[in-house]
């Protein structure tokens, strides 16, 4: 089959690879109908997460049709149109029982790597390196989906492929940030990053009753989307002083909940950007935590910060003093998609959550390299490049 593969640092290429096979009783094989780039893929492409091998299939956010089922699958049959959570989770371990699906004990076939890195291993993730299980990704004609009864969800007839696709990861991640960040009616919420996940987090905050939701980014087209589709106010951090603006818009208190949806390759107009870049390129720190620092600094006393952006390892100049002395609650996490996807599909069907606008560029898989280039460089207003295998 055809697949878009990691071919080295900053190199992706369409290749012919073997078809996936049923390996466990709970597996299904899905023919991929739509699969989409994610900002976290750029960390793999850039070599910041050094657990990729030449030929690894990329992609973790996808939708398709079931074409083969394993003998223990009960909820799905050939022909089902499904959207699949990007995390591989068993559904029966203690973590899954607590609905912390991305922390599944049984979803990662290589737990040793992340145990050494982080102390304990989270679950697996499609197309996201051998540290996360080494599962082949979705930028391919077909993909194996383990634990399909737990991680694959039948898409209601009233929801299009174009909309349901983003329930797989972006919408679930954004929703988790607002939900576990503790957004309550009347809150002021600030969201760093107006990419797909940031927009979804902003929309979730609005739907959970926040009174003011403020999206922060440097790209006007993304901020316009956040305003139009999420109902958020906006701040362009290259044109406005974020700290002053957040104070003014929150009556001097600071936002109640601050959601970071940027990750380890953050930008900033100040000198700290150069500092972080130098340290990251010299591998003296693995991640650039600019937006995390801002979120912690600006959050109100006793407020909540949720880190949605992907980080790999160590950071420098983490504002521990602000976190401790202001009594903040800081949480983070990969997304627990299985917890949110059914509810998100219902909201999509009712029209409360729209996502089609995120797919600014739709391309055949053969043009994957171009899609990633446009996505990485934000060319032509690219927010997400969707591939059709």
């Amino acid at each position: 089959m055809k697949a878009l593969c990691w071919d080295g640092v900053n190199k992706v290429a369409p290749q012919q690879v073997p078809d996936p096979q049923i390996r466990n009783g709970g597996d299904v094989i899905v023919r991929v109908r739509r699969t989409v780039t994610c900002g976290s893929d750029l960390h793999l492409l850039g070599g910041y997460i050094p657990f990729m091998r030449k030929g690894d299939v990329l992609g973790h956010e996808f939708l398709g049709e079931v074409v083969e089922v394993g003998p223990r699958v009960r909820r799905h049959a050939v022909g089902d149109r499904v959207v699949v959570s990007s995390f591989v989770s068993c559904g029966t371990c203690w973590y899954c029982e607590q609905e912390l699906y991305s922390l599944c004990d049984n979803g990662n076939t290589n737990p040793a790597i992340t145990e050494e890195l982080w102390g304990f291993a989270p679950g697996g993730c499609y197309g996201y390196s051998h540290a996360m299980g080494g599962f082949a990704g979705s930028h391919a004609e077909y993909i194996r989906v383990p634990f399909a009864d737990v991680g694959a969800f039948t898409v209601p007839d009233g929801v299009s492929d174009e909309r349901a696709l983003f329930a797989s990861d972006s919408a679930a991640t954004g929703w988790m940030g607002a939900d576990l960040g503790g957004v309550r009616p009347g809150d002021v919420v600030a969201v760093w990053g107006a990419g797909a996940v940031g927009q979804m987090a902003a929309r979730a905050a609005v739907l959970l009753g926040a009174e003011r939701v403020i999206s922060i980014d440097r790209y006007d087209n993304r901020l316009e989307m956040a305003a139009t589709y999420a109902g958020a106010e906006t701040i362009n951090y290259e044109q406005t002083d974020v700290n002053g603006e957040l104070l003014e818009r929150s009556g001097g208190r600071g936002p109640d909940v601050c959601i970071e949806a940027v990750g380890m390759e953050a930008h900033s107009p100040g000198p700290q950007y150069a500092y972080d870049q130098v340290k990251q390129q010299l591998r003296l720190q693995t991640d650039r935590p600019t937006a995390v620092r801002e979120a912690i600094y600006n959050c109100r006393k006793g407020g909540s910060v949720f880190v949605l952006g992907v980080f790999a390892g160590m950071v420098d100049k983490f504002p521990l003093g602000a976190m401790m002395n202001k009594g903040l609650t800081v949480r983070g996490g990969q997304m627990h998609g299985q917890r949110y996807i059914p509810m998100l599909l219902e909201r999509m069907e009712r029209g409360e959550l729209v996502t089609e606008h995120l797919a600014t560029h739709v391309l055949p898989l053969d043009e994957g390299a171009r899609g990633y280039r446009m996505f990485k460089e934000k060319q032509d207003g690219c927010v997400r490049a969707v591939f059709i295998p």
Binding site: A3, C5, Q15, V17, P18, P20, Q21, R23, N24, G25, G26, F51, R53, K54, G55, D56, V57, R72, C90, T92, C93, W94, E97, D105, N106, G107, T109, N110, P111, A112, I113, E115, E116, G119, F120, A121, H130, G133, G134, F135, A136, R144, P146, F147
Partner: protein
């Protein structure tokens, strides 16, 4: 009070299981230099876990096993350690290079025992692989080959 009583019953039952397993392996009370207890928590009751899981039973008398209820109703703590002298120095290196490291076998057996108890089978990696071997991929290839045998367990 009911909870306390249940806890006592569970603890007694667990102690009995430990004693039985130790007797079965002829290594009761022996301390093995060089190895520690390696432990997994299985989200199933000791009754559901039952007798010695197959993956551990396969290691025969080379290991010592301990089973007890996990705190807070988290299931069953299954722990094991090597009951034989462990290779040291060059012997240890040779065992690792020759895929003959007893601690690695033990870690894999514990992880597989947990998976079989919780999900009914062991999650397998994708096959056939889509990757190609390169000189720089060798260390990662080695790490993933032992992905269930190393780590902090």
């Amino acid at each position: 009070m009911k909870r306390v009583a249940t806890g006592v019953v569970m603890a007694v039952a667990a102690a009995a299981v430990v004693a039985r397993l130790r007797r079965a392996r002829g290594c009761a009370g022996r301390t093995t230099a060089g190895d520690r207890w390696h432990s997994v928590t299985i989200y199933r009751s000791p009754e559901e876990v039952g007798s010695l899981p197959e993956a551990l039973a396969a290691l025969g008398t080379s290991i010592e096993v301990r089973v007890r209820p996990a705190a807070g109703g988290r299931g069953t703590e299954l722990a094991a350690r090597i009951a034989e002298e462990l290779p040291t120095g060059l012997g240890k290196v040779a065992a690792k290079l020759g895929d003959d490291d007893p601690v690695r076998r033990l870690r894999r057996a514990l992880r597989e025992a947990k998976q079989v108890a919780e999900i009914g089978e062991v999650l397998l990696p994708d096959r056939p692989p889509t990757t190609e071997r390169t000189l720089t991929s060798r260390p990662l290839e080695y790490a993933t080959r032992h992905g269930r045998e190393e780590g902090r367990l």
